[in-house]
Amino acid sequence: MNDKDKSYNELVPEYLESDFAIALAKNVDLLKQSDTFKDYNYHGANMTMILELLAYLADFNSFHTNMVAKNVYMESANVYETVHALALLKGYYPKGFISAYTSIECTLDCYKKDQQGNIIETYISDGDQLLIKAWQPLDIGKVSIVNESITYNTTDEYIINVSNTENPVINDQVSFEFFMKEGNMEELKYTHRDVIDNEIILPFHNYDHGTYPFTVPSISVYVNDEEWIRVHDFYDEMSGLKEEYDDVYMFVYDKYRRYAVRFDTSRKVPGRTDIITVKLLKSKGPDGAIGKNTIDIPSALNNFEIFNITKNIPIPTEQIVKFTNPDSSILGTLPENVEDIKVSSKVNIHSQYRNVTAKDYRYHLEARTDVAKGSAWGEQEIDPGNVLEYNKVYVSVVPPEGIDSLFIPGTIDTEVVTWTEIDDPSLSQDIEVPQAYNTDFRDDLLIYLEPRKMLNAYEVPVLPKIVYFRFDIGIRVKRTYNYSDVREDVKNKLIFFFDRTLRNFNEEISFMDIHNFILDQSIVRDDDIFENIKGVDSLVLRELKTYTNTLGTGNEEVVYEPNNNNLFPMYTYESFDSYIDNKLRTIKIGYDQYPMLVIDMCRFYTEL
């Protein structure tokens, strides 16, 4: 590598430039300069053989040496094996096949009725628990591009509580969602003799490798019927607070493109009498992806079973009203290739498995399925200089829609405030608010956070303060559109703006943003393109009111003027005119405050 013309950024090393022809010619040239061999016949049989053999060997060596040199650096490496090894050094586990998965929307009839509508049999009642077992396959009746039938599976067990708060019975029907993953299930059995270097190397199939944090599992490993836990790395979930914390394994895709179940001495390795059962999916990768509503009851449910645990009866297929995937499947990929690994490992090298910044906490919290949004803050945010706040970390969470197990619920009566004017008087005026953390959830949350907790950090779960918003909205509709259609889409778009996937703690709620969001026709939801938004001629937001459930000031509707005392919610700038209260200023909400919309309290007007 003494070619000075080469750039230091030359990342395709030709470490040794010598092939068969060069080596042969060089050797002959050198021999010719020798007194002994200068007049030798280089085309004699033995001489030719020896020269060609040596040149062949030199060529072989050059190839190997160049290959090795090239694969020393991640940037220039081109052999999967070495790219994989280099990625591991950075703390990145390359991925194998990943199956597509989708959520299934299922609606069941609770009763079997005769033609007159009389109940003949009750299959589901309020308070019942339904069970969908893990590892149930379902042939969806479609074939892949290579004409193989596509199967989706449950890979997790789902318990559905039929209750007013979780999955209520509405019109004699109950609806719920769960996930299914593409693949053909395999069950493999092993003993300790198959464990070598604490690994079981699996058959050479294209298994679904799954994605962290494994919320939709891709593999189950049982040791003597006890299910072990899949971890991202062997120091994951390592904590004195975790029960059964050492029954863990990794599912890896190794540098020889083999799948392996890996155990670790520092945790636990199955013993000599143990039977290890592995359930996993042979994946079609991208060929297993499906569009929305591809899965449908008529296709066939076959032996797929939904079981009523409470009544100890299976739910007959004819009770299934709806069984479909409302959205297209997500993921469904081939194993990462060399270039994928290079990119992913570069991104991953800076990732940390400890909670230091507010973002660390937020991402860690939001990795839970029962947390939609999380927030963390500390002394600097709430009271800089107060030594009592040293080393304390406050965290708060809100759950996704439909999950109410985090908090002890309560309501606020909107009649005591001024939110009395609503479009539809029949709608409830009570708004649900969290009253306190459910202590089981709170402890579970702290145990969850503990493995990433920094020394001498004191994590305090704080009840989220919900800042409820309402508006008066004036709409002028274009001549060719119907007002009520347009109003409905404006209303739905407003609801979408406050969707929990889009909103965050400690946000600035700008009314210009809401205005633009509603009118931006490129912002659509998977199941709604808000077509009638086009009919809005002009849109006016006014009469904003907020209500913050736990302000405790006696004036829960207050929005503070800009201040340095961390009094939230507050306007981000002063009103221009001290005589007029400009309510449409941007509002900043606090670190423990989360914005929600009370759509029932919003009023819609025809704007003239």
Binding site: A85, Y190, H205, G240, Y458
Partner: protein
């Protein structure tokens, strides 16, 4: 062209098969054995033959001939075992070791386990028997082998697909199956006999053969899980198969024109490329494996650790596989730097212990000195500023701790505490209800969390080292790594907790119950209050019963005296001597209390059986305790008179009963010269458990109406009418352990076992921080501040009157200068 090269040179495979065939003794009968070696990594622990397991240490490989070997040779000579292993007189001479890591197959005569790589299935295990080697062809018999077949359905599955790999002895298919095809790559797995031969024997083999010491690892990377042998081909009848080697030498030969491949030239090239150049070729290939902790040569593992600027792996005293895993996963430690988890990870990996690790944060209140001008100086050794769980209360170590706040009962009341999971970090969930700043009150608690934390090593479930409770090496190792990962703005403190356990018994009580082959110990006993004199036993009956079963193990000749819980003597309905070790105390009603049992100094059988028994007293003493037994039951009947030091006389109403006396010399005699209904007997024997006989001034035995044991120095006798006379007392021990006043306890630590007895001065002397009494136990505690480094092997606890109360001897406990040592002595209120 045969694709890629075999991972091993040809000559090593050839020589391996030559070697294993040397163990064949055809003149001896074959015996079909398959002994399983239960220990994967060392081949030394155990062998099972059928259902019988032969563990190292409980048998030896001797059958009486001159080639006897003992089990210690077991690990070093895998071939000899088969000549000499002789369980149940069934010799295994005609045998081969298939793999010392997996099993010993004594039937195979050269059977090897291999793995065929079938693209659609995976690595399919086969066992085949080597027949001969012809050039590059290794020929095998399949009839003695077997294969384990994927596709044998064991469990019905929903998809119908299931595989059952590796379940040996359940689905053995003699001969070959059709489950793999010809021309498939065939591999040695890392647990094969070939690997064992390469790792343990090949170097010596070539030293003997060539006189050159070669580095086998340079020729073949035996750290890979699978080594390519090469492709396998079955014969038509599937009774034989062959594996055709293809390596560097074959590649080179392919480059030579066919007409020039003369035998001599071929041999010349084979030697060069197979035996010499293979080393270079393998090392070039192996460069990539230098990055892989699981496959790099072991001696290079440290470079990977240094790649992360992490630890010097030479310091680790753990097995190779664990060390490789540790280095492989170092990046994940780095990504958790500064967390409790990292402390926990290092603790688990570096010590492999079941002991607890506790990490506490330090909290302060506003009331600390200097407030609000904090930081004022706070002595980090002031234990009152630390939360303390589970060893003592959180009330600053005062002695008046309500029992409800006392958590150390875990040690005594919950035997499973000896087998806890190792514990991790701090935080309110860990502390449950006793965290200094509870989640409910954090806003109003005025508690300030400091940057200080304490790492507490509890050495009370097992020793940290094989031969030491805690060695300097272990401490230096773990503490240096912890410090390596400590955040710069955090302040660490370290504490070791040693909590010897004992009771009021002269017998040593061990601290450890789960030694896992470790030899270190901590043993403690009581020395002071004569809790039990030699040959004595106190039975405490806590559960009301009308039949107390007393396992005293003192032999047949014993005194027995029974008391209720208020220390008044009770006359049971019967005391039955069932055996030399067990007696039963019978009552008409269920009751609780104590029984004092003491071996008698002498005994005699009555003969002939008459109503008056003149007893010859061999003890020749006047201070006597005499009791009688009738038909193996204690007798409370009859009268007794001490006639002289040599003679006594007993009178009974029944004449047809076989009797026996048990007699002992008393320790103390109290005379009541003035007739009284109440005798205050001050005996100063130091025990409240005493046996007694009461006599009048005429040496006639009499029975008081009541009998009360007041304390360790005093007792009381009550009579219905004023009596004079004397009482003979015999010390048994204490059965009341309440309200002992230990005074200002002194603790002395000695450097060597025996120093205390030899009068060698202690290396450290201090006073207890506090002594606490609970319903079940006493606790004596001292946290020794960070002052000096020493190692101790003896602990002596002294009463303030200078008498030795408790004594502990133990393996080395290393107490570094910068570490607090908490001695937490636990004394159960029992014998």
């Amino acid at each position: 062209m045969q694709g890629r090269f075999s991972d091993s040179p040809y000559f090593m495979i050839r020589d391996f098969f030559d070697e294993i065939r040397k163990t064949k003794h055809n003149n001896l009968p074959e015996i079909d054995y398959n002994w399983e070696v239960t220990f994967v990594s060392t081949f030394t622990d155990a062998i099972s033959a059928g259902s019988v397991e032969y563990k190292e240490g409980n048998w030896s490989l001797t059958d009486g001939d001159s080639n006897d070997i003992v089990y210690t040779d077991f690990a070093t000579n895998i071939y000899n075992i088969l000549y000499h292993f002789n369980p149940n007189e069934q010799h295994a001479y005609n045998s081969y070791i298939v793999s010392p890591f997996v099993n010993i197959n004594t039937h195979g005569n050269g059977i090897v386990n291999l793995y065929v790589k079938e693209p659609d299935e995976g690595y399919i295990p086969i066992s085949i028997k080597h027949l001969n080697t012809k050039g590059d062809r290794f020929n095998f018999s399949t009839t003695a082998g077997r294969t384990l077949v994927p596709g044998d359905t064991i469990v019905e599955t929903l998809s119908g697909a299931s595989y059952y790999f590796g379940i040996y002895n359940t689905n053995i298919h003699n001969g070959f199956s059709t489950y793999f095809n010809n021309n498939r790559e065939t591999y040695w797995r890392k647990d094969s006999l070939f690997h064992a031969w390469l790792i343990k024997y090949a170097q010596q083999y070539y030293l003997d053969k060539w006189g050159i010491k070669i580095d086998i690892r340079n020729y073949v990377n035996y750290d890979k899980i699978f080594l390519l042998f090469h492709r396998i081909f079955k014969s038509h009848d599937e009774k034989t198969c062959r594996i055709i080697f293809y390596g560097m030498k074959n590649f080179v030969m392919d480059a030579i024109p066919e007409h020039q491949r003369t035998p001599r030239f071929k041999e010349f090239m084979d030697i060069f490329f197979d035996e010499l150049y293979q080393e270079h070729h393998n090392q070039i290939k192996d460069i990539w494996h230098l990055l892989d902790a699981m496959m790099t040569a072991f001696e290079y593992l440290g470079y990977l650790s240094k790649f992360y600027d992490m630890f010097d792996v030479d310091q680790f005293d753990i097995k190779e596989l664990q060390l490789r895993e540790f280095v492989r996963d170092m990046i994940w430690i780095l990504k958790r730097k500064g967390t409790y988890t990292d402390y926990f990870v290092l603790w688990r990996i570096l010590t492999d212990t079941i002991n607890r690790l506790n990490i506490y944060e330090r909290w302060h209140t506003k009331s600390i000195d200097g407030w609000p001008n904090w930081p004022a100086s706070i002595d980090p050794q002031d234990i009152s500023t630390w939360p303390n769980y589970p060893y003592y209360s959180d009330t600053n170590g005062t002695t008046n701790v309500p029992e409800s706040e006392w958590y150390d009962t875990n040690y005594i009341l919950k035997p499973e505490y000896h087998h806890p999971p190792v514990s991790g970090g701090a935080g309110p969930v860990y502390y449950q209800d006793n965290y200094p700043c509870s989640l409910e009150t954090y806003e109003s608690s005025n508690m300030l969390l400091s940057t200080h934390y304490i790492v507490e090593i509890d050495v009370n479930n097992e020793p940290m080292d094989n031969d030491a409770v805690l060695s300097k090496k272990t401490w230096d190792n773990i503490s240096s790594y912890w410090e390596y990962l400590r955040p710069v703005n955090r302040v660490s403190h370290y504490r070791i907790v040693l909590a010897p356990i004992t009771k009021f018994s002269c017998e040593f009580v061990p601290l450890y119950h789960n030694l896992r082959d470790k030899t270190a110990f901590v043993q403690s006993k009581c020395e002071y209050y004569y809790p039990l004199v030699t040959g004595a036993y106190i039975h405490k009956q806590d559960i009301p019963s009308n039949e107390w079963i007393v396992h005293h193990n003192l032999g047949g000749n014993v005194h027995v005296q029974v008391f209720d819980d208020m220390f008044n003597e009770m006359i049971p309905s019967d005391i039955v001597f069932d055996s030399n070790s067990v007696l039963r105390v019978l009552f008409d009603n269920e009751t609780t209390g104590f029984a004092l049992i003491k071996v008698a100094d002498s005994t005699d059988l009555q003969s002939p059986i008459v109503d008056i028994w003149n007893i010859v007293n061999t003890l020749n003493n006047e201070k006597l305790i005499i009791n009688f037994e009738e038909d193996h039951q204690k007798s409370y009947e009859g009268s007794l008179e001490l006639i002289s030091p040599a003679e006594s006389m007993a009178t009974f109403s029944e004449t047809s009963i076989h009797r026996r006396n048990v007699t002992s010399e008393g320790n103390f005699v109290f005379f009541q010269n003035t007739p009284s209904t109440e005798w205050d007997v001050v005996h100063n024997l130091g025990t409240n458990g005493v046996l007694m006989n009461v006599y009048d001034m005429n040496n006639q035995r009499m029975n008081p109406s009541e009998f009360e044991l007041v304390d360790t120095e005093k007792m009381k006798l009550y009579f219905d009418s004023p009596q004079d006379g004397y009482v003979v007392l015999l010390r048994v021990g204490n059965f009341n352990f309440d309200n002992f006043d230990f005074g200002d306890v002194t603790i002395r630590l000695y450097e060597h076992i025996g120093d205390m007895a030899d009068g060698v001065p202690p290396i450290y002397t201090t006073h207890a921080d506090w002594v606490l009494e609970t319903e079940d136990a006493y606790y004596i505690q001292r946290t020794i501040p960070q002052e000096e480094t020493f190692t101790f092997n003896e602990i002596a606890i002294y009463h303030e009157n200078g008498e030795l109360i408790f004594y502990t001897k133990c393996s080395d406990v290393y107490n570094p200068r910068d570490v607090m040592l908490t001695l937490h002595y636990r004394i159960e209120k029992t014998t």
